[in-house]
């Protein structure tokens, strides 16, 4: 088990900076997800943790000691690749045994360990097969087995579920969480799928443009996104944004007051999550421009003078596109961002209670 | 060996692994190449290896009125163009044929490769036997069906000598075209042909609009490679005619050999070799320009 610490980590390929100074400390036993859009530098970060890429600047520490110059094989880590990277000419048993063989573990012990790992992952019947004779899910389990067998201090997983179909993916998600709980090792998991990040991790690091955008628990990242990028990347459907204005203690959208606010005057970006939008008899008038039935609910796209927001409605919603509705949102659930930098702005928000200002939602 | 290498980072291991190759290629290619260029500025007598600096004198002589460069270049170009054209036409046709569903297709594909892999010495011996004036099959068959009245000295007279060299060259090297084109043909998805059929394309337009564009790129590379190899071909021409009659089939590589080891003028031979190389480079650049101009 090991905690991980990154200090001003930097990686440059030729003239492009892929990772631009990341500082991060993760406690031992954490399930850390590196989350971000493709090309954000998260895989490069993982490969630096593995020792497959050397940092251009900065330090990587495992349990307080710098590992920059330690080759991958001596970092006591295991990695599951997106492509699984199974050795095609070896059987499942040989694949799983390989890390032990390289460490000079005697044959008897090796066989026992392979048998144990195979048992855990339900691979016992497949031990004599070769990778190409296995299904995607089975290959995935072999890759996990190869990582598990050595009981390393850190597990690195590079989008391991991206090649599986939807059912298998959600099954494996639960398996991985259970596995993490059982062995309690530090895991670093790279994905662009925010659902995986939300459901599996104890810690999420949102990365974009080679920089750490936010680091925290899934709940923190969801509830208090540090900036517009994090806010828009996390949550389905995505957060809606509108240009607002603060004037004399009021938050105005399209010139109309929305809430009381304790902030100086000036422009502000307002973010609204779909689940915070309530269809009501009064409030902001908007037109239903699109409806998307996703089974258990219906997503409504509402366009009005405040811009466009998404709202959740019950599956049996009777509305039709073109209908006019009213919606409300509780001021405390609004997210505010600096329109120039995109950074989160914290300000006390409260409903406008005065009875003559009826437009307040 | 492994623990020692383990401590070396990628930085030194990569160059270390290529070092033997660089060393060997430096000795057997780079050094001889530069030595050849240097040698071309000397007059060297092969048996004694006594040499005298002549500057560009060798080049002046070989390009001059008494030099044999221009006539030999002409012969080389005729040989290259004619044999290459035959190789491509026969090769593509054969590849198209072998791509069909045939009886014993894989045996057929094997047999077609034979001329290419068999030693040039074997190929030439067989053809010289076929071209034998009295007992060769070529004369006997042609006389029997009445095409010729008297036996022909195939390799000893013109134009049959040049023609024979071209035909044997085409026979020996066309399988290269077959393999390259056939490999590409097998990757053309059947759905392309189905789509063309639905669009009402006949056999010819399917070939022109589907097959030809698909094998175009491969053909470009094959033409380039074969042109280079045919241009510099020594064994086949040397063994078949030795350059004769007189100099009628003496291509540039044969001149180089003859100057060096027949006429004992090593410096002159090197000059011919360098001139030949520069010519090839010129044609290569022209080819690149033509290809780039088209795309």
């Amino acid at each position: 088990m090991a905690g991980i610490e990154l200090r001003a980590l930097h990686k440059r390929f030729g003239t492009t900076d892929v990772v631009r100074g990341i500082d991060l400390t993760v406690p031992s036993g954490a399930f850390l997800t590196l989350l971000g859009p493709s090309g954000c530098g998260k895989s490069t970060l993982l490969r630096m943790l593995a020792g497959l890429e050397a940092p251009s600047a900065g330090q990587i520490l495992f349990d307080g000691s710098v590992v920059n110059d330690i080759p991958p094989g001596r970092r006591d880590i295991a990695m599951v690749f997106q492509s699984y990277a199974l050795y095609p000419h070896m059987t499942v048993a040989q694949n799983i045994a390989y890390p032990l063989r390289k460490r000079g573990v005697p044959r008897g012990e090796r066989d026992a360990a392979v048998a144990r790992a195979a048992e855990v992952l339900q691979l016992t019947a497949l031990l004599d097969r070769r990778p190409r004779e296995l299904s995607g899910g089975q290959q995935q389990r072999v890759a996990l087995g190869r990582a598990l067998v050595r009981e390393p201090r850190i597990f690195l997983l590079d989008e391991p579920l991206s090649n599986l179909d939807a059912t298998l993916r959600s099954h494996m998600r639960r398996e991985l969480v259970a596995l993490h709980r059982r062995i309690g090792r530090t895991m670093v998991y790279v994905t662009h799928d925010q659902l995986e990040a939300m459901t599996m991790s104890t810690h999420v690091a949102v990365i974009d443009g080679g920089r750490l955008q936010q680091f925290g628990t899934p709940a923190e990242v969801y509830r208090r996104p540090a900036n517009r990028m994090v806010a828009s990347f996390i949550g389905t459907p995505g957060m809606a944004f509108a240009d607002g204005m603060v004037a004399t203690g009021r938050l105005l959208l399209a010139g109309r007051p929305l809430a009381l606010i304790g902030a100086p005057d000036g422009p502000v970006t307002v973010g609204i999550r779909a689940e915070d939008v309530e269809i009501a008899d009064t409030g902001v008038a908007a037109c239903v421009t699109d409806m998307e039935a996703v089974g258990h609910e219906t997503l409504l796209t509402l366009s009005g003078e405040f811009g466009t927001v998404t709202a959740r409605a019950p599956a049996d919603c009777r509305l039709a596109p073109g209908a006019t509705v009213h919606w409300q949102v509780r001021p405390a659930q609004l997210h505010l961002f600096n329109p120039e930098t995109g950074d989160r702005r914290n300000a006390a928000l409260s409903p406008i209670t005065s009875s003559n200002e009826t437009t307040a939602p | 060996m492994r623990p020692a290498l383990h401590h070396l980072g990628d930085r030194s291991l990569g160059p270390l692994l290529i070092a033997p190759v660089v060393l060997v290629l430096g000795t057997v290619i780079a050094y001889p190449l530069f030595a050849a260029i240097a040698l071309s500025a000397f007059a060297v007598d092969t048996p004694t290896l006594r040499s005298r600096f002549v500057g560009l004198g060798n080049y002046a002589e070989l390009l001059g009125a008494d030099g044999r460069f221009w006539p030999a270049l002409g012969v080389t170009l005729v040989w290259t163009a004619a044999t290459l054209a035959l190789q491509i036409v026969i090769g593509v046709a054969m590849a198209l044929l072998l791509n069909r569903d045939l009886w014993l297709r894989s045996l057929a594909r094997s047999l077609v490769l034979f001329p290419y892999f068999v030693s040039t010495v074997v190929a030439v011996l067989v053809w010289r036997w076929l071209f034998n004036d009295m007992f060769g099959l070529a004369n006997q068959l042609l006389m029997k069906i009445g095409v010729i009245a008297a036996p022909l000295d195939w390799l000893g007279t013109m134009p049959s000598a040049l023609l024979s060299v071209i035909v044997v060259g085409a026979w020996k090297f066309f399988p290269f075209v077959v393999i390259a084109v056939l490999a590409r043909l097998q990757t053309i998805p059947e759905s392309l042909y189905d789509a063309a059929r639905l669009d009402g394309a006949g056999a010819w337009s399917r070939f022109r609009d589907v097959t030809l564009p698909q094998i175009g790129e491969v053909l470009g590379i094959v033409v380039l490679l074969r042109a280079i190899w045919d241009f510099k071909e020594f064994d086949l021409v040397y063994l078949l005619t030795g350059g004769g009659p007189v100099d009628a089939t003496r291509t540039l590589p044969l001149i180089v050999y003859q100057e060096a080891f027949g006429l004992n003028r090593m410096g002159m031979a090197a000059a011919y070799a360098v001139a030949m190389m520069i010519t090839m480079l010129g044609f290569f650049l022209l080819y690149r320009l033509a290809v780039r101009g088209r795309t």
Binding site: P99, K102 | M1, P15, W127, W129, V256, M276
Partner: protein, 276 residues
């Protein structure tokens, strides 16, 4: 036209062309089995009337052919070994490492592959004379490396580039060294490519003529190509049936390779010649 009839038609056409192409080689075999009288007949028959192996017997007992054959085996095997070892390590370097000059080396290798042998032959001859290697088997092995190594490198680099780099990285993480990962994981993956390369190199060396003509002038080191040509010119009258028997014998390794390992040969072609 029914598909079946079409298949018959195309098959007949293809096979008659193949027989035409293979004709000279079949004629070679037929001639080698004919008696002297039959060979020099003005009414030739396609198949030998009385097949005889006498020419093969003469070839193997009364000529230098067995010695030439042995020389060729030694030269081709040694060349193949040297070239494959150098090319496997070199291709690994070119395919998997980043360092300054790598691309320059790769381009130079491709250029070497296009270079005419006649340009190199004169300085190489002078070099061998100076090193005292003229008329030795070693001189031919060294010279053959000059044209076989660039091709082998190019071929193996293509094969190695096709193997996903992740499996080597997985091995590194699993505790292998760089060379350990190479031997454990990459090498088994490119084994078919190595076989192709070895076959190509062997055939190139087996068939080579020009260097053998220039560098070797003694019967005890002469390989088959120049050796058989010596038999052609040294005889008072040319014994065609004997030469045809020699040609057949000389082609035996190729027949074996084409019969059993054709797939490897064709794969090598595709990788090196066409993608390169």
């Amino acid at each position: 036209m029914s598909p079946r009839l079409a298949r018959t038609g195309w098959s007949l056409l293809a096979w008659s062309l193949i027989l035409l192409v293979a004709g000279p080689l079949l004629w070679m075999v037929a001639t080698s089995l004919k008696s002297e009288d039959e060979v020099f007949s003005l009414e030739p028959t396609l198949l030998p009337v009385e097949p005889t192996l006498e020419h093969y017997a003469v070839l193997l007992t009364e000529t230098a052919f067995p010695a030439y054959f042995a020389n060729s085996v030694v030269i081709a095997t040694a060349t193949t070994t040297v070239v494959v070892v150098l090319a496997v390590l070199g291709a690994f370097s070119l395919a998997r490492f980043r360092y300054r000059g790598r691309e320059a080396i790769a381009s130079a290798v491709l250029l070497c592959y296009m270079l005419p042998s006649v340009v190199l032959i004169i300085p190489l001859y002078l070099l061998m004379v100076r090193l005292g290697l003229a008329n030795t088997i070693a001189s031919l092995v060294i010279a053959y490396t000059s044209f076989a190594l660039p091709y082998a490198l190019w071929l193996l680099r293509t094969f190695m580039a096709a193997v996903p780099v992740e499996i080597e990285q997985a091995a590194l993480i699993d505790g292998a060294s760089r060379m350990g990962a190479f031997f454990d994981v990459l090498l088994p993956q490119v084994l078919p490519g190595i076989i192709s390369t070895a076959l190509f190199t062997f055939i190139l060396a087996w068939n080579e003529f020009l260097f053998a003509l220039v560098l070797v002038n003694a019967d005890d080191v002469r390989p088959l190509t120049t050796g058989v040509m010596t038999m052609l010119v040294s005889g008072f009258n040319i014994e065609w049936s004997l030469l045809m028997a020699a040609s057949v014998m000389m082609s035996v390794p190729l027949i074996i390779i084409l019969a059993f390992l054709q797939g490897h040969l064709v794969r090598g072609f595709g990788a090196g010649a066409v993608k390169g």
